[in-house]
Amino acid sequence: MLFSFPVNLIAGIDITAGALSANKTRLDIVAQNIANAQTTRTIGGGPYQRQVVSFETELIRRVAGGGSSLQGVKIGAIANDRTPGQQVYNPQHPDATADGLVTMPNVNLSYEMVDLITASRAYEANLAVVKSARQMAMKALEIGR
């Protein structure tokens, strides 16, 4: 093709898109944790275990744009939180042991709310980057006017 745009017209948008995806996954995991805060029976047996997300950097090499490489982010691992769950005395519960104790999930709602707000704010920050990058591109187009 005689004339072609670069892959990304808006600078650095692929990195921000990766960060948005990662934060969205974190939000999904928080939702899963909150939803399963009372789940005492899972496929693997035993109560639900809280899951935690860790991010890792991802090298994005841009060959066309001068060869500079930038570090994006992606989900590194989704691991189980190994903290033992709280044991409550509830003999009527179907998952209670012989002495009437039920092991509840190790989900702490306060932690989950903090994670929720953190993920939400991080998402907003990345959206602000998107907005600003787009404004920069549009301002650059106004040079010739």
């Binding site: 093709m1 005689l2 004339f3 072609s4 745009f5 990304n8 017209l9 808006i10 948008i13 921000t16 898109a17 948005l20 995806s21 969205k24 959206l127 998107v130 787009r134 591109a137 549009m138 187009l141 010739g144």
Partner: protein, 109 residues
């Protein structure tokens, strides 16, 4: 009062003689022998095609989101923004072209 003297001769050396041979202007020997070079039209075609490809990609992403194939809403919106910026750039290029054309048409020959 000084009398009018003889008129000094013209510096004929710097002037070009009328009967001197004119410098050759290269004319095409025969029309149609040179290969047609891709001009502005091809470039504009490429530009429009690229912008159209970006918009179609954005449309496909939006369609995927709406159909529930993916939940990457931000990818779709970012693709739409990018298509918008590409379109604006195309319009800017077109404005510049039309401006220079009009500038040429106003030129006094």
């Amino acid at each position: 009062m000084t009398p009018i003297g003889p008129v000094p001769p013209l510096h004929a050396g710097t002037l070009q003689r009328i009967d001197a041979p004119l410098p050759k202007i290269a004319l095409p020997t025969a029309p149609g022998t040179a290969a047609p070079t891709p001009g502005f039209g091809a470039m504009l075609d490429g530009l429009v095609a690229t912008v159209d490809a970006k918009q179609q990609a954005a449309g496909a992403l939006t369609r995927q989101v709406l159909l529930g194939d993916t939940d990457q809403l931000h990818q779709s919106v970012i693709a739409m923004q990018e298509a918008g910026v590409a379109f604006s750039m195309m319009v800017e290029v077109r404005n510049k072209l039309v401006e220079s054309y009009q500038e040429l048409m106003r030129m006094q020959v």
